[in-house]
Every structure is written in C-alpha cells, then in structure tokens.
Symmetry: C2
Subunit: 351 residues, 2 copies
C-alpha cells in the first residue's frame, strides 16, 4: 500500500501539504480503513509546530478518524469489510501490563503507541495519522461507529469526547451533582453535553459576558463569569466537580474555592506547570482533590461512542476542505472555531 | 469554675507561663474533664507564635487531651464520672450541615470551633485548650479512650493519629497497597504504624542516610533516600499512595513521579502554596491525584482510637513537665523530639 496520499508537515514551519506515505501490509490482526473524516485537534497543531518538542517529521496528524473497513487480516474477528469504524489517539500498547489488562491502554506501563508520531512496536517505523486516504490499525485499537451517529460529527468523540467522558465516569459524576466546566472549546463543549447526559447540573465558567448566550446554547444550566469576583464568591463551596479543559497556565485557586468539601478538580487540558501555585490549604481544609486524566482506554472509547449514540450527542463541527488546513490552524490559534474542524477526506482525493 | 490554672501565652513573643482562665459552667450536653495528659502539636507552637496570623491572646494551646470525667450536664448520655476520655482538635460545629450530618465535623460548612483560639458558638468567648487543669466540652466532641491504651501515649492519636488515619481510610488504603510516607515527625511515624496495621507495604522517604535505622525501627518495610536521584528513579511509578506529612514547601514532582497510574498523593501537613509548581502532565498522563485531608470527624476519631487499641498502636512520646514547655518548643523547632512531647498535667499542679 505504498504511496498512500496524506497531508504532512516536513518541518516545524512548513505547514501541511500533500505527501506520499507508506501504509504497512496487513498483519493478522490488522484492519485497513479508508478514511472518510478526520477531526482536527489542537494537539495536531502543537505537534506540527513542535510546540512540545520531539516532533518527528514528516508529521501526518489526525487522531479523530472515521472510515470504512476495506480489508482485514487473517486473524481479525470483530470487523469485516464495509464496517463503519473509528481510530482515536492510540494504535497500540504493550497489551500485557496491568493497565492494558484493565483496558487502560492510555496508561500502558510501557507507553502506548500514539496514532501519529509514535514508533510502531513491530518495525520501529514512525506512525502516521488520519490526514490521509487510508490507515492500517490493529483491531484492538479500532472502535465501531454506531449506525445512528452522524460519522462526520462523531469524529471528535474519539478524542474530545473520550477525554471528557472518561474522567466524568471514573470519578462517578451523575444525577444530583453540580459540575462546572472550564473552557468552551472542543473539549469543553463535549464535556457539557456528556455531563448533562450523565444527569449532572452543569455550569460553564467563562471569562466573558459575550459568551453567555453561546454557553446556554450548549446546554449549560448556568453560566459564571470567572472574571467577576462577586460571582466567584457567590459560587464558593458549591461544586462537586470541575472539569478543567483550559490548555494554558491559569490560576486554579479561585476555582478550587468553588468546590465543596470532597470536591474534585479534573485537569484534562493542561500539561505544563500549575502556575500560579496552588494553595495547599484549599485542598487540606476541605479534602479537595486535583486530578488529571488522559483520553480513555479502548473499552471506554467504544462505551463513549455508544453513550453518545444513545443520548444523541455529537460534536458541533465545521467541515473542512483539507486544502484549507493551514488556514484552519490559523483560525484555531485565535479560537475561531465552533467547536471542531472536521476534514472531509473526499477533498484529499481532489487535491 | 473560674480560675482554672492553665499555661498560656499572652503575646506572640512572651512564651508560655501559668495563667488563670475561666471554664464555663456545665451546659446540659457538657462533660467536665480533669486533664491528665496533653500532647504538644506543632500547631500549638505556630499559634503561640502567631505564625499563621490571627492568634487571639491569651492562647492556651493543646488539642491532644486525655483526662477523666468529673461531672456531666443533665442531658449527657454517653459519659459518666470517672470515664477516661479524650478531646481532639474540635469542640463544636454547626451540627446541622451536610458535613456535620455525615460525621465530618472538620469540614463543617459553617466552620468548626477549634479547641483553642476558636469562638464559643453560644457566648462568643475564646476557646482554651488542654495545657490546663480542666476543660468543659460538649459530649459530641468527646471520645472514649479504650482501656488497653496507655493514656499518655494515646494523647497524640487525637491529632497526629486521626490526621493520618482519616485519609488512609478515606482513600481505601489496604492490603496489597504500596504506601510511601514523607516526613518522619509526629504525623509521619503514626502514618507508618497505621498504614502497616491496615495491611500496606510501607516505605519511608527520608532525606538522610542517618535516619534509615530509625525508619526501620518505626516499622517501615523499605526506606528511600529522597535526595538520591538513582533511588528516586528506581521508585518511578511504583507507589499507590504517598502520605505527605511535610509541613513546609517542598517539590512534589519527584514524588508524583513515584506514583503509579491512579496513584494518590495525600497532603496532610502543608497549608502554604505548593512550590515549586506541580507539573500538570504528571497528573494528566497517569490519572494521578493530589488530595488534601484535615484531621478527621468525631465518629472517625473514636474509630482510630479503637483501631489503635486493637492493633496495639500508640505514639512514641517523651513526657514533659509543663514548666519546661518553652524549652520543648525550642527543641521542636530543631526537630529534636521522637516523636511527640506529652505534658504530664500533674506537673501543672506543682507549678
């Protein structure tokens, strides 16, 4: 399958352009997928521009992949030609450690293999993501797309959806709980929909009065302007959970103060130092918790798709011609997307 | 009961000296206690010297109080004259909020009344602690001292014991878990004993090779020298829990790195900013948690006393003549006590 067409960056400042990549021959447990749609995650942009260091060029981004099975390896049991399937952030892991055995492949003790920019565990080649005609993935890392989900707007469930669903489930969010969502981007708006579907009362924290209407449109029961000291003071001690999707350094202390005793502040967007410093007293005096969470394991990724199908949840997307991906990145830098770009991969054939 | 003899500080730099204080007449639910022993907690020292601000002089410290009931109010049902009882860090709370109704009086939404330096909820007077002949406390905030516990060395269970027991129980520490204990003071050495009794495999982290023998003597299964990068590297990802009793700012990141996925770092000694900053990535990429915990509620304070009696756990104490309390404070500042001073209150009568 050499010479699959893809969009790749060849250096940190080259932008994305059409590129030929190899896709491996099918191994026994492999599924070959023709890609229909691929969501555009902020991680794609960070990796293309090497913001986190360690990017390995050429980078073919994309880990919110939806497509149809075109062929399966001799040992594949769960999928057949024509099935509508998805691939998320991982394509492999050690499969034998305690995390993998618990279906928590994202916490694989040997490190999971990322969909792009990882190293294939068999031949050491660099993995390439979903801005591409095709992908070949071991069936353990393939999920089924429920029939009643619109495939294009389901794509971001594979990253933004699972990233918010996994901690909400793990930390037992449900009926009667008050959940605050910080950040109104791709993750935040999915967090609102999922927390609502889990039965929680949901408040969006936003810095700007101008976003209140949009927050309500997303289904939030309440909106708090986080820059208004009076509103923040009134919210003191009132939340069971805060789902924090903000990807840049921000002061957690005013938010921690909004948590009840035993409240949990869940970080899903931040990877850098927590600055300014957290006041330990805010944790100790109320048994509050700061937790982190990373995407979700494969069983839970299937679960969130089924959950979204059951609750009629999809992502708000803007369809994108892959030839405009560099402009899309520029718009993402300005926060100018509601809430996720999804590439229509037919446009790759035309490019 | 006016003119009860106590030891008090009258200003931040006066030290402690004999002083006369009033103890209230018995209310219906009150228990009058003649004090036999009182543990000396670092909080006493901080309050006497106004390290945290807000100290209200005269300060009569002491919240690890053991004594005998000398009289009870008309409505008291659980205690009678002659009972050996204890009083810990709290003497009252609102009793009606969700926290109080759950037996978590330490997280009372209206603020619990501290044993010393608090305001009595009925008459607004300042509460005075256990460096005193007597104390009068509502029976809800009195606990029973099991017969087979040595009363003097049980005193610190009322603060150091419950402070470590409560989070270990709350976060479900038990058989098969690997627990690291940070800090080898009053809290740390109780944490080791309690975690061992709960069935955990316990490691003490210490900065100095010189403390290894002492750590082993405390019952630790293993010791890690936290200043040795090789030992810290070898411990990467291997702990389920870290019980962090260190009361001053320290870098949490090397310790977080020692936690497995889903590991929990429990702060019980720190109230100040967490500096240097925690790397959010260490939480997110392994679903790790930083939690805080404050003493424990009244039902759990009785529980830890019964647990310690069952498992033959007491605190290692050095008995103190109250006339030497100021020298004891100086020694505590240098960490020169193994592991808790306990005042023999007979010495107050002689003073």
């Amino acid at each position: 399958m050499a010479n699959t067409k893809a969009y790749a960056a060849t250096s940190a400042d080259s932008g994305l352009a059409a590129y030929a990549i190899d896709r491996r021959e099918l191994r026994a447990d492999d599924v070959a997928i023709e890609i229909d749609y691929c969501g555009v995650c902020h991680s794609d942009l960070h990796t293309v521009e090497n913001d986190w260091g360690g990017s390995k060029y050429p980078v073919v981004p994309g880990h919110e992949i939806i497509g149809r099975v075109t062929a399966v390896g001799s040992g594949v049991t769960h999928y057949k030609e024509g099935d509508m399937v998805g691939v998320g952030c991982m394509v492999d892991s050690c499969r034998t450690c305690s995390a993998c055995e618990s279906g928590l492949e994202q916490y694989c003790l040997d490190g999971s293999t990322m969909t792009y920019g990882g190293f294939d565990r068999h031949d050491g080649s660099i993995t390439h993501g979903g801005y591409s005609e095709r992908i070949v993935v071991s069936e353990r890392f393939v999920v089924r797309i429920p029939e009643n989900l619109d495939p294009a707007s389901a794509a971001p469930i594979l990253c933004a959806g699972i990233t918010t669903y996994s901690p909400l489930k793990h930390f037992n969010v449900g009926k009667g709980h008050k959940v605050g969502v910080l950040g109104m981007g791709g993750l935040g708006h999915m967090g609102v929909k999922i927390a609502k579907a889990l039965g929680a009362e949901v408040t969006i924290f936003t810095r700007s009065e101008a976003k209140v209407a949009e927050a309500k449109k997303q289904g939030a029961d309440h909106v708090i302007i986080s820059t208004d000291p009076e509103q923040m003071k009134a919210a003191k001690g009132s939340f069971d959970y805060l789902l924090d999707t903000i990807p840049v350094a921000h002061d957690l202390n005013p938010y921690l103060n909004c948590l009840s005793y035993d409240g949990t502040h869940i970080l899903v967007g931040l990877l850098t130092p927590i600055e300014p410093a957290v006041q330990a007293g805010l944790l100790v005096t109320k048994r509050r918790v700061i937790a982190g969470s990373l995407i979700g394991g494969m069983p839970e990724t299937q679960e969130v798709l089924d959950f979204c199908a059951e609750h009629d949840i999809t992502c708000d997307v803007e369809m994108l011609d892959i030839r405009h991906i560099n402009e899309a990145y520029e718009r993402m830098k300005k926060g100018d997307v509601k809430y996720r770009f999804v590439i229509d991969m037919k446009t790759l054939k035309d490019s």
